[in-house]
């Protein structure tokens, strides 16, 4: 089938789909008129019952924590898949330090430390202020990725070592499952928050959702770093071969 034919069949169908979408979306309450109830029930419950100020975080890591367990494993499986697909270039090329600018080095080093600190803070205080394990994990991995900018490929390769990252990723993902199982073993439903009750607004306020945040943070940081390392390798290896 030629492109022409494809596009000529496609356009009327797309117009039809667009019409359907508009027709259906007209049934949504007007912008700003949402009347719940789900989210508003959670607004009323999260702080009194779980001592968490951030309802989005309480939803993600406690009330709908089981969704997030699945989401952890989506990332987990995708990273394993990417590593498997890119497995033919396992070589770690010897690249010389290619960063020339001292300015980049100085500010970059500060940025690495800053990003990782922000990441840790996001993980630790996600249920108090905006943040959470997932968000913090991405920030930590981002900080570590800056090492490539600051100190070159060789230094980054030390961060991106799968021998180190695989166990972290496995323990993070497995830890999430085990926190859930701990509740089950205690005779409670899966992922029940076991020690909720810390003072509102402190690092202890999340109960076992705090541990869930840390498990997610570990897994996400390690998984993202593996992704960066794999794709960076795809970029570096041809350059190294040429030179």
């Amino acid at each position: 089938m030629t492109r022409r034919v494809r596009i000529w069949i496609f356009l009327p169908a797309l117009a039809g789909l667009a019409a359907l979408l508009v027709w259906g979306y007209l049934g949504i309450p007007g912008f700003g008129d949402y009347h719940g109830p789900y989210g508003f029930v959670l607004d009323r419950l999260a702080t009194p019952l779980r001592h968490m100020d951030n309802v989005v975080n309480a939803t993600t890591y406690d009330i709908r924590g089981f969704d997030t367990l699945g989401e952890e494993f989506i990332l987990f499986a995708a990273v394993i898949g990417v590593v498997m697909l890119l497995r033919d270039t396992d070589e770690k090329p010897e690249m010389r330090d290619e960063v020339e600018s001292d300015l980049v080095r100085v500010f970059g080093t500060l940025a690495v430390g800053g990003a990782i600190l922000v990441g840790l803070w996001l993980v630790a205080f996600g249920f108090v202020t905006p943040g959470g394990g997932f968000q913090g994990g991405v920030a930590i991995a981002g900080g570590a990725a800056l090492v490539y900018l600051v100190a070159g490929y060789r230094a980054f390769a030390a961060f991106g070592d799968e021998q180190v990252l695989d166990p972290i990723k496995g323990v993070g993902a497995g830890g999430y499952v085990v926190i859930g199982l701990a509740a089950l073993v205690s005779g409670l439903p899966y992922l029940t928050n076991l020690f909720s009750g810390g003072a509102v607004g402190t690092v202890w306020s999340g109960g076992s959702a705090g541990f869930v945040n840390w498990a997610a943070g570990m897994e996400v940081a390690a998984a993202n770093l593996i992704l960066y390392a794999e794709f960076l390798n795809q970029y570096i290896v041809p350059i190294a071969r040429r030179s």
Binding site: R3, A18, F31, Y38, T59, R64, T68, G81, F231
Partner: protein, 114 residues
């Protein structure tokens, strides 16, 4: 104006689909897929918006204050992760396709016809 966000969501979805169908480059195609996905972010967040609602974080805010819907935000977070992972996989596949075929134009690879 209360329909505008939904109209934009529908438009973004349609544009993304058009891009996927007509794409001549797998990387471009992967990005069009994220465009289609952004329409779901828009849709979810627009649905949960409440006029005058603050963020659903009660640090220093009295309980019972009107907020936007927290659930759609949690859903969008999951949605973003899904998008990133699928894109990572498709990009990895595109790299492998390029290594094997020397092209990433999906129209030029016809290993699978019939």
């Amino acid at each position: 104006m209360s329909f505008l966000p939904y109209a934009v969501a529908a438009w973004v979805c349609v544009v993304g689909l058009y891009g996927i169908v007509t794409s001549r480059n797998l990387i471009h195609l992967a990005l069009c897929l994220t465009i289609t996905q952004s329409s779901t972010y828009l849709l979810l967040l627009a649905i949960g918006y409440v006029k005058g609602g603050g963020p659903p974080i009660f640090k220093g805010v009295k309980l019972g204050t009107t907020t936007v819907d927290p659930v759609v935000q949690a859903l969008t977070l999951t949605d973003i992760v899904v998008s990133v992972t699928v894109i990572a996989l498709i990009l990895a596949l595109a790299l492998d396709v390029h290594k094997q075929a020397g092209t990433i134009d999906p129209d030029e690879i016809r290993e699978m016809s019939g």
